[in-house]
């Protein structure tokens, strides 16, 4: 057993961090956030991510991919989360098709296509795509206006359909995260309103697996954000002077920062383990602890920043708002807790 990162994995992480810092520095994030109107996906950045292998990371080399596994994908997504890189990264990565032979969306692997996701167990009927969402709240879809296609996850199957076919049944909401535009897709009236546009064949029986991978890669982004807010809090606490000394010398502030690190490192161990085992219980634990680490750390980071943390100008709120959005995507904390509870009743669960 050697849980530590290999040399290659360290190099991948460094490479991804360098790419993010060069191609999506703070100024780029602020430009997205402060722009008038709905934030659009930066197509040239998307293609650059494609060229760097971000979307094709897990495709076999024979298929033009990088041929790596989920642990490497988790490291890449952790860096994206750290940089608050906007866009439907997870669904474009999944639509590049690493998870099922023959299932992919054209252009996703190369970063030519932007593929967002619609997670609705009632969405796929026997023939074609029909959005039948359960309940009245509808389903949220990110970056729909920028997207070329939508990865629709039904109860068992998955299918990719053109984004323009979803648009008529979607209404924009004012997203809490200025970098993640959201649409609400409601059911009922749009039954059988969509046609499969020939983007892919239907992926039979792969929805559960895609959901687990989506939850894990989202957790990896949460982890990256949680680790980043620790650094931000520590940097602020070390530099901000009150009462003649850095506020980081006060135990009340120190203990907030220490608890943040504990949350981030606890989440890290579970997220990495889940990437190796791909066990649903491990993924549920990763979802739960990474969501909690991202949200709680952003809150504590805000607190450490004091009044500055409450301003639009500071980046802290962007971490918190994105963490809220991600926590709502794929497996929620409540669902993860129920999944883990159910596993307690099945003896010999492989969690430990």
């Amino acid at each position: 057993m050697d849980f530590s990162l290999t040399e290659d994995q360290r190099a991948l992480r460094t490479g991804m961090r360098t790419l993010m810092e060069r191609r999506f520095p703070r100024a780029a994030l602020r430009a997205v956030v402060d722009a008038e109107g709905e934030a659009a996906v930066d197509r040239s950045l998307w293609r650059e991510l494609g060229a760097a292998g971000f979307f094709a990371l897990r495709l076999p080399e024979a298929a033009g991919g990088v041929g790596l596994g989920l642990p490497e994908a988790v490291l890449a997504f952790e860096e994206a989360g750290r940089a608050l890189l906007p866009g439907p990264l997870v669904t474009t990565h999944l639509a590049a098709g690493p998870s099922a032979a023959g299932f992919s969306a054209a252009g996703a692997a190369e970063g030519e296509a932007v593929v967002t996701g619609l997670d609705a167990p009632g969405a796929l009927g026997a023939s074609g795509v029909s959005v039948v969402t359960q309940g009245t709240g509808g389903v949220l879809v990110e970056h729909l206006a920028s997207a070329d296609a939508v990865l629709v996850l039904g109860a068992e199957d998955a299918e990719v359909c053109p984004a323009k076919e979803v648009m008529p049944s979607a209404e924009a909401i004012r997203s809490v995260d200025p970098a993640t535009p959201l649409h609400r897709v409601r059911g009922g009236g749009v039954r059988n309103g969509l046609r499969s546009g020939g983007w892919s064949s239907r992926g039979r029986g792969i929805a559960a697996r895609l959901r687990r991978e989506a939850a894990l890669l989202t957790a990896a982004q949460q982890l990256g954000s949680a680790a980043r807010t620790v650094e931000m809090a520590v940097a602020h606490a070390g530099g901000r002077v009150q009462f003649g000394r850095a506020i980081g010398a006060f135990q009340a502030v120190q203990h907030l920062c220490a608890s943040m690190l504990v949350r981030a490192e606890t989440a890290r161990s579970v997220v990495y383990a889940a990437a190796i085992t791909e066990d649903p219980g491990d993924i549920a634990a990763a979802t739960l602890l990474a969501d909690e680490a991202a949200i709680r750390n952003a809150r504590d980071c805000l607190q450490v920043h004091g009044g500055m943390g409450f301003t639009w100008e500071a980046d802290v709120h962007l971490h918190l708002k994105r963490a809220w959005v991600r926590a709502e995507q794929w497996q929620t904390v409540a669902a993860a807790e129920e999944e883990l509870a159910a596993r307690l009743m099945s003896t010999g669960a492989p969690c430990l």
Partner: protein
């Protein structure tokens, strides 16, 4: 990132399992928890069985009489023994995990030959004399004095929170050998001594804990004579010598408890199912959340062991992160247990309730959670020294 075991490690696990299957049925019945001599005999009997089977001092270096096992093998050993329900290290905790490794790392050849083999065989039991009534979290403020008189130190003072003191043969003792002044900060001037517990002037008084049992003792030292050659490391260098020991304490010392956490949680779920409380989604989700935390404790352990293996060092910074989370989760587990048990949680005859009371020490012993956060803030995060 690889969580699978190598062929050698799997082989080790299978041989260990096979041995445990034959060895455990030969154990005598467990002793009464209040009967300290019986507990010592039981724990030492188990240690002797380990010794005879070649499992004693697994993680100790070979030149100290250990097996020189890798951290992963040690982890497998702790995991498998706990799963099989083998006895806890018990009275041999300090010898095997604190005093022994310290002597192995810092002792002379003669000291290693004198003290290490009896620890491995389960012949001699050690206790720990670090904390004092006026030196808890601020351990370096300790005041027990050792005054040199020819070839002996004359030691006077008192120690507290000493487990197994009633039945120990030796005590790893921290004493002040140089007074604190302008030239000597409190971390200097401390020495590490091996104190024979039967020396004249040693008085042991059991300390009753809030659980109602005597798990610790106070040790009073009144002009106790300790030979100078019982000092490990240089005079006044005991603080550095001790740090080696403390980092062992925060490494793999809790592996058994982490494995136990999962078992406790599963049995709690079964109890809740049986008494109907499982139907309450709030409680169910609470247990699910604890399952995630238990899983994380295991992964953190694997992470720390791997990092220790990679860097070749003793477990370091990860230990404080682990200890903070572990102690918190362990207490939350018992709070959840109380919710499952309802009125039964007030019956001190229940094993759960005893465990709940004992768990109250976890955020205090071996460095309080507040001290651990100071360590994390200053040593890992690099924040300015606090006040």
């Amino acid at each position: 990132m690889d969580l699978s075991c190598t062929e050698d490690e799997e082989d080790f696990r299978h041989r260990l399992r096979a041995w445990l299957a034959t060895a455990l049925p030969t154990l005598p019945p467990r002793p009464d928890p209040a009967d300290w001599p019986a507990r010592r005999a039981y724990d030492c009997g188990w240690q002797r069985m380990l010794y005879d089977a070649g499992y004693a001092g697994l993680h100790w270096p070979e030149d100290a009489g250990g097996q020189g096992a890798t951290p992963t093998q040690h982890l497998i050993f702790l995991e498998e023994t706990e799963r099989a329900g083998a006895p806890y290290v018990g009275a041999n905790f300090v010898g095997l995990l604190h005093a022994g490794p310290t002597i192995a790392a810092e002792g002379t050849a003669a000291q290693r030959a004198r003290w290490l083999p009896p620890i491995l065989r389960g012949d001699e039991v050690w206790c720990q004399g670090f904390s004092e009534p006026e030196a808890g979290s601020d351990l370096a403020a300790l005041r027990t004095r050792a005054v040199r008189d020819g070839d002996t130190y004359v030691v006077s003072g008192s120690k507290i929170w000493t487990s197994h003191a009633e039945v120990a043969d030796w005590c790893e003792l921290l004493v002040r050998t140089a007074p604190v002044n302008a030239d000597t900060p409190k971390h200097r001037g401390i020495s590490w001594l091996a104190l024979p517990m039967d020396a004249p002037g040693v008085t042991v008084r059991p300390l009753r804990t809030l659980a109602g049992t005597a798990e610790f003792a106070e040790v009073f030292l009144d002009e106790v004579r300790v030979p100078v050659d019982h000092r490990v490391g240089a005079e006044n260098d005991g603080w550095r010598v001790t740090m080696v020991t403390l980092s062992f304490e925060r490494g793999t010392a809790f592996v058994g408890e982490v494995v136990a956490c999962r078992r406790v949680l599963e049995s709690l779920a079964r109890t809740a199912k049986a008494n109907g409380r499982w139907d309450d989604p709030v409680l169910r989700r609470r247990l699910g959340r604890l399952a995630a935390h238990c899983a994380a404790l295991w992964r953190l352990t694997q992470w720390n062991v791997s990092e220790a293996q990679r860097t070749g060092g003793v477990p370091g910074v990860g230990g404080s992160v682990f200890k903070l989370r572990f102690s918190q989760v362990r207490q939350e587990l018992y709070d959840a247990a109380a919710e499952v048990l309802g009125p039964d949680a007030l019956d001190a005859g229940e094993e759960w309730v005893v465990g709940r009371l004992a768990s109250l020490s976890y955020t205090i012993a071996a460095g309080t959670s507040q001290i651990q956060r100071n360590i994390v803030a200053e040593r890992i995060l690099g924040l300015p020294k606090g006040r």
